[in-house]
């Protein structure tokens, strides 16, 4: 084929594909951090952080005296009606923040007619796409870290005790996972911004996927598990298989992965994520906390899954973007 022949020599491209990467990252991050939409979302997250953490600390003070080694972790997970706990909000707000950052990253440039101009500069498309992604992830990391520090600060003021090293490790690992949880939605929104020419369509598509996983996937997973693995009456093994299949299916959703990580990291008493048979608890002392290292091990597959999904989504977007025609 003639086409293939003309492309073959182009495989050896001159120079580094990352030429200009940091110029893109710096510019995009400056844009993100000053954009109105980012400020609105940050205000929203700050507000929920203050509200939930304040409510949680009030609760914790009321219950002071009950010896609890993990007061700081409770700040994230204690709910007081009518507010859910802060982790519950995070599961909703982080995807929203990530989608808001990236839904117009490529089609916005296209509609603003800056794309062909930028690509006419001595950089590869790789640098533009990765630069935008890194800037998004950086912004996300910055915003979340700031909120983490605020929460810890509030905790110090309200509770009057510093977090233990055990708690610090757990909170840091949870922060890292939260950032990568955002990374998935960032990569997804960016993918849609490559596929759809209209930013509004891309935003809607990303929000649709998010809603699907938040609301419907749990129901669908349990339906699927029941149809694929029916349980004859009295067959315990089949029941276990069914539950395990359902668990597997729900874990395809990043929301599930994230909430399981939150559960395991912020509640040290959780020793397994899945079904535990009484026989497996033989010799265990119920309610004793796991060491942080063991909890990290427990959530390691989740972290791997979240990071892998981010990379896969980014790679799909990368391939599509490389093949896209620049012209209108």
């Amino acid at each position: 084929m003639q086409h293939a022949r003309s492309i073959a020599p182009a495989r050896q491209r001159e120079g580094s594909p990352w030429t200009g990467l940091w110029a893109v990252v710096a510019k995009e991050m400056a844009d993100y951090l000053t954009s109105a939409r980012m400020m609105i979302l940050e205000a929203l997250i700050l507000l929920t952080a203050f509200g939930t953490v304040y409510a949680a600390s009030q609760n914790l003070r009321a219950g002071a005296g009950t010896s609890d080694d993990f007061l700081f972790l409770r700040l994230f997970t204690t709910a007081r009606e009518p507010l859910p706990a802060f982790v519950g909000f995070l599961g909703l707000l982080v995807p929203l923040l990530a989608i808001a950052l990236a839904f117009d990253s490529i089609n916005g440039e296209f509609n603003q007619r800056t794309l062909s101009k930028v690509l006419a500069q001595p950089i590869y498309r790789d640098a533009l796409l990765l630069g935008k992604f890194l800037a998004g992830l950086g912004t996300l990391a910055l915003a979340l870290t700031a909120i983490w520090l605020l929460i810890i600060g509030m905790g110090l003021l309200q509770l009057g005790v510093p977090p233990s090293s055990e708690e610090t490790v757990r909170m840091l690992w949870f922060l890292l996972i939260t950032i990568f949880y955002g990374g998935i939605w960032l990569a997804l929104a960016m993918l849609f911004s490559i596929i759809f020419r209209q930013p509004a369509t891309a935003a809607l598509a990303a929000i649709a996927v998010w809603l699907f996983f938040t609301v419907f996937w749990g129901i669908i997973a349990s339906l699927l598990a029941r149809t694929l693995q029916p349980v004859p009456p009295g067959d315990t093994q089949a029941l276990i298989n069914q539950i395990q299949l359902e668990l597997l299916l729900t874990r395809l959703s990043p929301n599930t992965l994230f909430s399981e990580v939150a559960l395991a990291m912020l509640n040290p008493a959780v020793r397994a994520l899945g079904i535990v048979l009484p026989i497996q608890l033989h010799n265990a002392i119920p309610g004793t906390p796991l060491p942080a290292g063991q909890s990290i091990l427990l959530t390691w597959p989740h972290a791997t899954g979240l990071i892998a999904a981010t990379i896969v989504l980014f790679a799909i977007g990368y391939i599509l973007f490389q093949r896209q025609e620049v012209r209108a």
């Binding site: 182009a10 062909s116 101009k117």
Partner: protein, 315 residues
Amino acid sequence: MTDVVIECRDLTKQYGTFIAVDHLNLTVRKGEIFGLLGPNGAGKTTTILMLLGLTEPTGGSVRVLGLDPARQPLSVKARVGYLPDQVGFYDNLTARENLNYIAKLNGMREPEMSKRINEALAQVGLSNVADRRVKTFSRGMRQRLGVAEILIKQPQLIIMDEPTLALDPEAVREFLDLIRQLKASGITILLSSHLLQQVQAVCDRVGLFHQGRMVLEGTVGELAQRVLGGAYRIHVEAEGGDAVAAALHALPDVVKVSANGSQYNVEARADLRAEIARKVIEAGGKLLGLSVDTPSLDEVYARYFQKGAAYAARA
């Protein structure tokens, strides 16, 4: 070789079954202003994108400044300035911030960067609005900012796609002046347009695109000679009826005469004004007016496509 800035040999681009550019041969030399002309969809923008390595050619070869845009895109893009049609900017950034970003993408560093940006802004006359947001800029200002963006690279070749589209006449005039200044500083310029009068005003040579092929190439005068048959169009106003018309027809070198009352349009291969004056008087007519037009590209274009339709019908 050093003299040739752009060289295309049998350059072809196919989208599916649609052939956007069909065996294009094009040579542009250093210091020239070359105009790519043709209706929308004739393949001008596709050609430009291939010159910049933004689209891979399906066949044929391209050399820009002696480099292959598909293999050495960074070197090509570092030396070539590209002004897309309706160039866009980051509207919430200032003019200077927009230029800063482009300069950084080109790997420039302070203090060289600020120096070049200030020079470029001064050259296009935007120094006094450098720190205003681009969203407040008029079309003409945006176009000039686009040129400034190119100038900070100090390019050897500038490619402009429909640069005067949607500009008002005053802005067009200023813009064409700017192009002439650039040429004076030794930069080669390739511009595409379907606004022929403007192209005619600045281009040294033009190439006429039609359905992916370059059907005509040369100076405006050469094209007129080839397409119009005669390069001279003479307006005659004379009273005297058929005798005058017959006299005009009888002149040698006359290609065509069209009459409208006492107005006659004569197309000729030479400047026949003196002969026409004599013949009109000899035929007993009253000569009221006589003038000659230099041929315009508009006519070449219109005439060519009339013929082109005829050629197509025959084929």
